[in-house]
């Protein structure tokens, strides 16, 4: 992995005196870490039904909650705007947020909850819709204005979603696990599937081990982001089945042993790969609680020079294999159970396009199409499917980029740095929880609010 020397230099005293803009060191999750390092402001505009449960959730984590801005630095600011219907409500939000952002601590968290514009419109009219949509732009702007590693995100909550539906998302966005997720708008609806893992029913879910008892399959797990996903899911309590091509088996075995999981050497593009995967999982586990489609390759060329081999290799690994494996697991009917989750790794370039990557971009955009199409289908079984779209992530791949391209990629986001593989992994860990059933058919960017494709 490449190191961000500019970030390190920018944090020296000399750089400070010279006025070099500081690249913040992001707070990241470590086992045993409290949800928040300081007090949180939790409040609402109007009769929001989430402020109270969220305040309780924060207090339960051992942190102090305040309902107005004082002298103290705030680790988090949560404003429930789900009842906002008018421009006056926006003005009230402004009155809370202006002093609050000034008090936000480094790596602080600003989280807004708002209504769905379409629902607001149907229920309360056009002004309500405008108000709801205003929050979208507002949160993206706050994210751009915040400094020192603080982030701002918005949960758009469906009117019929019960308060507990947002819990796992609130925990994720308040904690250090969401370090590189910034300026995102995530829709939370009525939860799909059981919020509790059937295997973990007997023991209460420890906040330390939100994936306890869950069987997770990660493709492309021998290196890079895939290996980080495996490590992170194992840390959170999951039992891992790590998959990669036979040629990557040496590293794959290390990842499997490190995580206490098992290694499955399998070329996911092989004709019989879905069948072999299903047979293996049936024999060894009889279930899959979390399927992470991570395997991906690049074979870059300008479209003008693109040959069919490059095109097909990338499409087959990155998209066709995901389609076929998901289809096989659904056809099997027993492995994916009520509360199971599927997370696909897309890419920011799948949203915004990228010069020289027509094949890669097509595959990553295709994943988004697949996720949206499958979401209502799998929901009938209590299963969700979502995608994460990483932006510039520091990996062996980005370390090989030319310096200029790499520096540009790192800096064009609100956090002024590249993310780490673990940032993608944490996001997958959140979406992979049984408790995260309210998020379905969604694409969550892990990009530090990158300007690319935004």
């Amino acid at each position: 992995m490449s190191t961000d020397r500019f970030r390190d230099l920018s944090n020296t005293a000399l750089a400070g005196r010279l006025g070099v803009p500081r690249v913040p060191l992001l707070r990241r999750y470590e086992p045993g870490q409290a949800l928040l390092p300081g007090p949180a402001l939790v409040t609402s505009v109007g009769a929001g039904r989430f402020a109270k449960p969220i305040a309780a959730l924060v207090e339960e984590s051992g942190q102090h909650v305040v309902d107005e801005v004082g002298d103290q630095k705030l680790a988090a600011v949560v404003v429930d705007l789900t009842a906002a219907v008018a421009l006056d409500d926006l003005a009230a939000a402004r009155a809370i947020l202006t002093p609050a952002v000034r008090k936000l601590a480094p790596s602080g968290r600003l989280l807004l909850l708002g209504p769905e514009p379409a629902e607001a419109s149907a229920r309360s009219g056009v002004e309500a819709a405008a108000t709801a949509q205003a929050l979208d732009g507002l949160v993206r702007t706050i994210a751009k204005e915040l400094r020192a590693g603080a982030t701002a995100n918005l949960l758009v909550v469906a009117a019929d979603a019960p308060p507990a539906a947002v819990d796992s998302s609130v925990r994720f966005f308040l904690s250090a696990r969401s370090a590189y997720v910034d300026g995102q708008v995530v829709r939370v609806g009525v939860p799909v599937g059981s919020p509790r893992d059937p295997a973990a029913m007997d023991s209460p879910t420890a906040p330390e081990k939100p994936l306890a008892g869950r069987v997770a399959v990660v493709t492309g797990a021998a290196r890079g982001i895939g290996a980080a996903i495996a490590d992170t899911l194992a840390r959170d309590g999951a039992t891992l089945v790590v998959v990669d091509v036979p040629a990557a088996g040496e590293n794959l075995a290390k990842v499997a042993n490190r995580t206490g999981g098992t290694a499955l050497q399998l070329d996911i593009t092989a004709v019989d790969a879905p069948e072999r995967l299903v047979a293996h999982l049936t024999q060894r586990h009889g279930r899959v609680d979390l399927l992470v489609h991570n395997a991906g390759i690049t074979r870059d060329k300008l479209l003008a020079n693109m040959d069919p081999d490059r095109w097909n290799a990338v499409l087959n690994v990155n998209l066709r294999a995901q389609l076929r494996i998901t289809e096989a697991l659904l056809a099997d009917g027993t492995l994916l159970q009520d509360g199971s989750r599927i997370v696909c790794v897309s890419s920011q370039s799948g949203i915004g396009g990228n010069r020289g990557q027509a094949n890669y971009v097509a595959s990553k955009a295709g994943i988004i199409g697949m996720v949206r199409a499958l979401a209502p289908v799998v929901a009938e079984r209590g299963v969700t499917i979502n995608a994460v779209a990483p932006g510039f992530i520091e990996t062996e791949m980005t370390a090989r980029m030319p310096v200029g391209t790499r520096e540009a990629g790192r800096r064009v986001n609100s956090l002024r740095q590249g993310g780490l593989p673990v940032d993608v992994a944490e996001t997958i860990g959140w979406l992979g929880q049984a408790e995260s059933g309210g998020v379905n058919g969604h694409v969550v960017r892990v990009c530090g609010q990158s300007m690319l494709g935004a």
Binding site: P246, A247, A248, G249, E250, L252, A253, K254, A256, N257, G260, G261, T262, A263, L264, Q265, L266, D267, A270, D272, R276, Q283, R284, H285, G286
Partner: protein, 435 residues
Amino acid sequence: MQSTPRRAAVIGGNRIPFARANGRYARASNLDMLTTTLDGLVARFGLAGERLGEVVAGAVLKHSRDFNLTREAVLGSRLAPSTPAYDVQQACGTGLEAAILVANKIALGQIESGVAGGVDTASDAPIAVNEDLRKVLVAINGAKTVQQRLKLLAKLRPGQIVPDIPRNSEPRTGLSMGEHAAITAKEWGVSREAQDELAAASHRNLAAAYERGFLDDLVTPYLGLTRDDNLRPDSSVEKLAKLGPVFGKQLGDEATMTAGNSTPLTDGAALALLGSDEWAAEHKLPVLAHFVDAETAAVDYVHGRDGLLTAPVYAVPRLLERNGLTLQDFDFYEIHEAFASTVLATLKAWEDVEFAKDRLGLDAPLGPIDRSRLNVTGSSLAAGHPFAATGGRIVATLAKLVHEKGTGEGGRKARGLISICAAGGQGVVAILEAA
């Protein structure tokens, strides 16, 4: 303990790709390779932190510091350190003999699970000091006074610097294994063409097995090597025919054994995972095959009429008789290809009426086998042959083959025969049956 022995299950295996000597694994030690192979097995079957009944393995070429090689490998692996281990050594029969030991303990109910196999390196071979020098050094070590030591030191001579390098030859005949095999090949009239055909088939079959993903759950890459580097997928009888003889050269035009139809010196390790059916079920692991029976034979190749590598010729009829089987009752034959001529001479011996009567004491020969069932995913000629590793490779391969086939003729369980010849005139053979 059970009154009737149960059958041990073969659950799977792991090996690293075999590398030609002084190549990719030139700097890897036996301990490195065995530990890595064990960790690959742990990863495949989720055994991290698990206490197994025992791990049994060995090496033919072994440094004295590796006196407790297998136990050291266990301690360096992800298995629970409370897993016992011991070394065995029976030349090329090491791996299979290890599997027999583990299978027997499982059958008797003494253990529930075990790993068996072996490792060998011809690159990192132990080089001993010259025997003359060794004697002086030992004496110096035992000397009590400075005077005695100085007197002994005066005995050191420049010639004693020449090291003692292990040789691939029989201590009692001074002949290399290849020369012994050449004698047997001549005796049985094994033709050059037949040997080259067998070698080409071995390469073809192993390459096809890799292509269809058969080795995906048998091999874990090591030090960047993803497939056996002795494998020549484009090998052919025509190409092999161009090679000059390397063994039995005194036969002149009648010499038939080349570098192409003999196994090269190779580095590598292979292990098989065995257990009781209950242990496998508890761990949600598949039972590929059961270990049915095994037999070891030895021949007097020094003074008697038998060839060095012909002991399996005797072992198999004894094994068949005990199990009420004929040589034709098998769906797969895994006959270790030390040399192509060894396999072919063995088959000829089983077909020979005189030999059956005079030497095996049988009324009729065992008869021919269906050659399409022989070494169907390649064998040592293609993969290479790190001596002690071959048994583990074959046990796991055959277990998978009978499992894939499921049933044989008449709906009986698919069955396979393993035959491995070894230095010292020994042969180890075994039967596996689909679960």
